[in-house]
Amino acid sequence: MTTPLALPFPADTTPGGFLLVLAILVPIIGILLIWTLGSRRTELVALTTLAIGAAIALAILTELTGTGSAVIYLVGGWRPPLGLALRADGLSVVLIVLTAIVIGAVGIFAKGQFGYDPDAPEKRAPTVFWTLLLGISGALNLIFLGDDLFNLFVAIELVTFTAVPLVCLDGKAETMRAALRYLLFALLGSVMYLLGVALIYSGYGTLDIALLKSVARVEPLLFIAIALMTVGLLAKTALFPLHIWLPAAHAGAPAAASAVLSALVVKGSFFIILRLWFDILPAEATGLGAQMLAGLGALAILFGSVIAICQARLKLLIAYSTVAQIGYLFLMFPLATGSEATPAFASIAWTGGILQLASHAFAKAAMFLAAGLVYDAFGHDRISGLAGAGRVIPITFIAFGLGGMSLMGLPPSGGFSAKWLMLNASVGEGQWWWAAVILCGGLLAAGYVFRVLVPAMARPLARIKVKGPVSRRRELVALALAIMALLIGFVPLEPAPLLGIGRGAEAGLLVPGGLAP
Amino acid sequence: MSLLADLFTVAAVTLGLVFFVAGTVGIIRFPDSLSRLHALTKADNLGLGFIVLGLLPQCAGVFDALKLLFIWLLVQFAGATGAQLVARVLRREERP
């Protein structure tokens, strides 16, 4: 039995559309250059590429806010369902700019690390690190821009093969084990995602998300496909109880890599889940599943925070805090419920969730970089041995503390605004139990942050042994990221208009019969 | 003519299959590894040889027929080498 295909993609390439291609292509060109130009120019190529990438991200933002509608590119001029579309709306552009800032900051932090020396023969660690850093930036951009589910599969494969080797960059057996476990989870996740993609194609004959929105039906095939894909992506996002690979992996990687992995990489797979649930699943079909996701999120918040408090090592503490903070993101699913009058993306929970994502990215990157500096200064990261450390490297600990403030949700910080919006949403939606979890999580976060900060800032009984100097540039990078986490707390506490760009009106175009230019 | 060709195909392919079955039985039943290896290569040589021979009359053109023969030759070559390599390992394991 045959049925007509989904309608052709209703929009053409927009004037600034080529920027979307460049956002993905430029980092890949950088990788090819690193592997052919020789070690003399590795850092130069990588940092230049990151700078160009940041400029492209800003250009996309300008284009989007200028026109007030989505930026679209039809690759090869082929229109979905046959071809592939790239599409930037307000949400994707926020994440692209976020990625550009965090990866750029990490790039500045990592300059000169891993024994890089332009005059020496090529070395393993710096060459691999810079390649993978560029790879992650390109892969994440593809995740945020891709509108085709198989294209997104290629993107998550790119993320897997760039993120996993970063974990064992130091080559120790212990980190290799962590990397291998991460790889197993990531690959299992990919297989389940791909299975879901195949099911969706068999049922609807298209993989374009915008087209799927108009043809998706409430039926077992769609549920099973989305369930498979969601579980696969949860393994990559490390939502409780699929988080067991994360602490060892994120704590074992070099600080610069941990910052990217914790701040950005886990958000990539989360972003795809968000698109599956809000951009494909019909709104009436999400109720129970949304409660389940948020339930796991709540467990992650409580469990991750308690385990973080018990950690003896600073990097593991920060890694477990990531497990907890990821949990907050999943509260979006039951709270950002749309209605006829206000769609999901215009709700305060939606803005709150995205704020949580961004503020955690800045805060966590700052904290991991700070932990790396602690290691540089003292040669270890045992929390019990850090009494008085804050008096030796105050800027580092200020960065750690400001990041921690955002995690706790103290005002003024991005974390505060995020949690405040979510609290309001849970009260407004009559789902008070999530509010209890949010408040509890804030208190627990205060527990693990102050456990490090209070002794570090106190006058020590014995002088702490300093192993080496700490680069002022690196300290300032960590501080700048922490300050970013504070600054985004100053956005108005209401649904952000930027997040709505390219969502409402165009989605209407896709209703069958409503096809208009 | 075409009936004759079809009969030839059926006969030759059947003969080839007989060799494959015999070879399989040999692999399962023969007592030692070298004899099993012998059974395996026989099936490859003669079994595939007869099947290719039987398919030749069914080919659309000379080029297709040559391709089939070529495949048989390649399998001979790879099979012989593989058997030699396995036999070497077996001999080495027996010696100590």
Partner: protein, 312 residues
């Protein structure tokens, strides 16, 4: 029961049996051989559902290259006792539950099949003429979804870099060791005689891919296998990681892809669009570059990283 249904049932039952055996069997070597046989049977399934392109890839990659890679990994790991390690009980339970859930989901779909099954095949055929190629699979891979193909080659490149990242620091830039200390005479003979033929076949499969089943991925896998044979027989050693020629071979395919793609902005109105009438030669140019790069990537993936004690 018709003959084909009988054959299909036999195939499926054999494959399920083989799959169970692979999980149950204690010996890793036996499991790998089972996996390779499974790849061959799976390629028959692809042929049965009229997807010869996928079938070819399955034989080359699933039955061939992956199996060789697993065997090499086993050879390296058996030095320690990593191969005898059994995953912990909770982990096995987790995997079992996940696999069971997936099977349950898919089983449910057999009970509630989707009402309709739309396909893009007619649409793909409709635009075939403008792509200049005759095989619709190639049109999908090189025109409609060329972007995916480009990104997939980047995935393979990054996988290789990931493998290389496991090189011990002192060995960076060295040649991976592939040949054994004493090369058996039959292997040497095979390498000397088969390789020229194999190269021809690899290029042929890439070339016919434009109009018939085949293509660069399958062709490149054959080339990589031939290269591996040469290295194993000790006729040539593997290139050093730092070799300039190797680096160029690795990036030439993606670089040509990017160059033609970007020139599409100007000459054809879109990234990765081809100007009228030039589609076929441009696609062939990209495929030629990719053949070299993918063969180099797969060959070096099979060769693995240099090990402790290797010196550049």
């Amino acid at each position: 029961m018709t003959e084909t249904a009988f054959f299909d049932t036999l195939l499926v039952v054999t494959m399920i049996g083989l799959a169970i055996w692979m999980i149950v069997v204690r010996d890793v070597f036996a499991a790998i051989i089972g996996f390779m046989a499974f790849g061959l049977l799976l390629s028959l399934v692809w042929l049965r559902i009229e997807a010869p392109d996928v079938g070819l890839t399955e034989i080359a990659v699933g039955g061939g290259a992956t199996g060789v890679m697993l065997l090499r990994a086993r050879g390296l790991a058996s030095a320690g006792d990593a191969m005898n390690a059994v995953p912990s009980v909770p982990f096995r339970v987790l995997v079992g539950v996940l696999a069971g859930a997936v099977a349950l989901f898919l089983g449910a779909l057999v009970v509630f099949p989707p009402a309709v099954a739309p396909t893009l095949a007619p649409l793909a055929a409709e635009h075939l003429a403008s792509t200049g190629v005759g095989n619709p699979i190639t049109a999908v891979l090189m025109a409609y979804r060329a972007f995916d193909t480009f990104l997939e080659t980047v995935v393979v490149l990054l996988a290789l870099i990931g493998v290389w990242s496991l090189t011990p620091d002192g060995a960076w830039g060295a040649r991976p060791r592939v040949a054994s200390a004493d090369v058996p005479a039959p292997l040497l003979l095979l390498a000397q005689w088969l390789v020229p033929l194999g190269i021809v076949i690899g290029i042929y499969i890439t070339w016919v891919g434009a109009d018939e089943p085949g293509g660069k991925f399958q062709g490149a896998t054959i080339l990589a296998a031939m290269w591996m044979l040469v290295m194993m027989a000790g006729l040539r050693s593997a290139p050093a990681l730092s070799s300039r020629r190797l680096r160029i071979a690795l990036v030439v395919g993606p670089a040509i892809f990017i160059a033609i793609g970007v020139s599409g902005f100007h000459f054809a109105g879109a990234f990765l669009a081809y100007p009228d009438g030039l589609a076929k030669p441009l696609i062939l140019a990209i495929e030629a570059g990719l053949l070299i790069s993918i063969a180099a990537m797969l060959g070096m993936l099979l060769a693995g990283p240099p090990l402790e004690g290797d010196r550049p």
